[in-house]
């Protein structure tokens, strides 16, 4: 069904990712990390990756806060990129991300869905501990400290 309604956007599969996300938290021994936000709605996504010396994403973790779409899509993306090579992840396009999410989104909500994708793409160029390598993708990293760790959405403590 291509018709978009809330049963599409908030379908079981998406709500599952939202309420029980894959790899939300901290990645031990992360080699790459990046964070960005969508100031318009306050969605924040922080991604930590452990990339092996063979150029493979061994682990992908995210944290953040925001709407169902931004958080569920991040969970889906973490699941998707684990085990993939850096090249494969770099080739994973915005269109691929929207397809992975599944439900059809209006342009405004596409931004929510693509936030984690943008952060992952930037993280590939952001080795941990190397500040100069950040923002190579042109994305701006969030300047404000974000509060993480709970599903208390829309609220900063």
């Amino acid at each position: 069904m291509s018709h978009s309604n809330e049963e599409d956007i908030y379908q079981e599969h998406i709500l599952d990712h939202y309420e029980d996300p894959y790899h939300r938290g901290h990645c031990d021994h992360a080699t790459h990390a990046h964070e960005d936000d969508n100031p318009l709605c306050g969605d924040v996504i922080h991604v930590e990756l452990r990339i092996s010396s063979q150029g493979r994403v061994d682990e992908a973790w995210f944290d953040g806060e925001g709407c169902c779409i931004s958080q569920a899509s991040a969970s889906m993306l973490m699941e998707r990129i684990e085990g993939k090579s850096v090249e494969e992840v770099k080739q994973f396009s915005a269109d691929d991300m929207l397809k992975l999410f599944g439900a059809r989104l209006t342009p405004n909500r596409q931004k929510c869905c693509l936030l984690s994708w943008r952060v992952v793409q930037a993280a590939m160029h952001s080795p941990v501990g190397d500040e100069s390598a950040r923002d190579e993708s042109g994305a701006t990293s969030a300047s404000k400290p974000a509060q993480f760790g709970g599903p208390d959405l829309g609220e900063e403590s």
Binding site: N5, L15, L40, C41, C68
Partner: protein, 416 residues
């Protein structure tokens, strides 16, 4: 449906003047338009005025000797007179047509601000200001080195008047404040705040974008120096706004935009600025939007601004009752008796965009986000909020549909 006799106006019959309000969306659901603080809809009367102008009486103003230009100029100047009367300005040339409230505030910041504000001076705002009443002053601060201060709000979202007064001092050159907060709905005591600012020797600009459409405005009772508002938030077309300025101040201000109309004469060596109000209306002004604004004013006056204000407060009261009953709602802003028809809230555990999205599928249009008031949201500790904002054509039934939409939201998110 018969309107209860206790209601100040008959929204059911008034809304028949608004073609767009009959729209049905998402599988034949009635459109419930509750985003009036962002922009209102237009009645047929206003739309017809635009059509008539373009079909019969349109030419550039203040330029032609020809008949059509004279017709157009007359209508445009009548529009100015109609605005003057509507806000009770003393003189017609104190009313400047701009492209919107934002343009009006920028005009003051660029012209009056650059001329009168120096490093070390202070500009006092409130924390509840819209970005359009913050950023132009931050830009002025970048140019001049002046300091911007923010008067705080209390836990209910009302301005802390004592703190406001304590922040006024001999360095305060300007106070810029919203008459009504576009997020909290808080109605500020403009008259007394202006009096306090004047005692400190400050000039006062009132951002009246959220008050002029909803309650009677009297710039002389306020004793305001500048008042800015937009046409599109009061049934008028987008692309026209008003800057009211006290004659004495406007007379002393340099032109902001340069071009045609704003000059007395131009030579290869320079120019001599024109008189008010043309001095601040460079280029072809928003001619037809200004005529539409006149038509909007006529419509609002026929309904009655007092009635509109009372009715919208009833809608806000009802919204508070119904939303409170739904539970898990946190209101931003004071109780209904202290505010206009704006009800902002967050739903526990559900992001504002998800709330708005689910409501949209029920046909209910509300705003979600920071509503161009990021400093306020930061202060409130909220990233994004939801806002239902009413106008006189909204009904109590529509408030019930808003509440029903929130029940649907819970069904979607809490079903497991």
């Amino acid at each position: 449906m018969a309107t209860a006799p206790s209601l100040p106006l008959d929204a059911e019959s008034l809304r028949r003047d608004f073609p767009i309000l009959a729209t049905r969306i998402h599988g034949d659901k009635p459109l419930v338009y509750l985003d009036n603080a962002a922009t209102t809809q237009r009645p047929r009367q206003v739309i017809q005025t635009l059509v008539d102008a373009y079909e019969n009486r349109y030419a550039n103003v203040h330029r032609g000797i020809h008949w059509l230009s004279e017709q157009s100029t007359d209508l445009y100047e009548e529009a100015r007179e109609s605005v003057r009367r509507f806000i009770n300005a003393e003189r017609r040339h104190e009313v400047i047509f701009t492209t919107g409230c934002t343009a009006s505030i920028n005009l003051v910041a660029r012209s009056w601000g650059d001329q009168n504000v120096r490093a070390g001076d202070e500009i006092l705002l409130t924390i509840m200001e819209h970005h359009s009443n913050i950023v132009p002053w931050q830009q002025l601060a970048q140019r001049t080195g002046c300091r911007i201060r923010f008067a705080p709000i209390d836990s209910q979202g009302r301005l802390q008047v004592e703190q406001f007064e304590a922040l006024l001092n001999e360095r305060t050159r300007l106070v810029a404040l919203a008459a009504v907060s576009n997020v909290l709905g808080t109605i500020n005591p403009v008259e007394s705040l202006i009096a306090a600012a004047h005692r400190a020797g400050a000039v006062v600009l009132v951002d009246a974008a959220q008050s002029v459409p909803h309650e009677p405005t009297d710039v002389r009772r306020w004793d305001a120096d500048f008042v800015a508002f937009s046409g599109h938030k009061m049934l008028g077309p987008s692309g026209v706004g008003i800057l009211y300025g006290r004659e004495r101040l406007l007379e002393a201000m340099p032109p902001f935009l340069g071009g045609g109309s704003m000059i007395r004469r131009v030579t290869v060596d320079g120019f001599e600025p024109g008189d008010l109000p043309a001095r601040f209306e460079a280029g072809t002004p928003p001619i037809v939007p200004a005529l539409g604004l006149t038509s909007a004013i006529e419509y609002l006056e026929s309904v009655g601004l007092e009635k509109i204000h009372r009715y919208e407060q009833l809608l806000a009261e009802r919204a508070h009752e119904l939303l409170e009953a739904e539970g898990d709602i946190r209101f931003l802003g004071p109780p209904p008796e202290f505010k206009a028809g704006i009800v902002s809230f967050t739903v526990d555990g559900i992001h504002a965009h998800d709330v708005a999205q689910v409501l949209d599928r029920q046909g209910v249009a509300i705003r979600a986000g920071h509503h161009c008031a990021m400093p306020l949201h930061k202060q409130l500790g909220v990233v994004a909020s939801n806002r239902a904002s009413f106008y006189f054509y909204n009904t109590l039934e529509e408030v019930e549909l808003l509440a029903a939409g929130l029940r649907e939201l819970k069904r979607v998110f809490r079903r497991r």
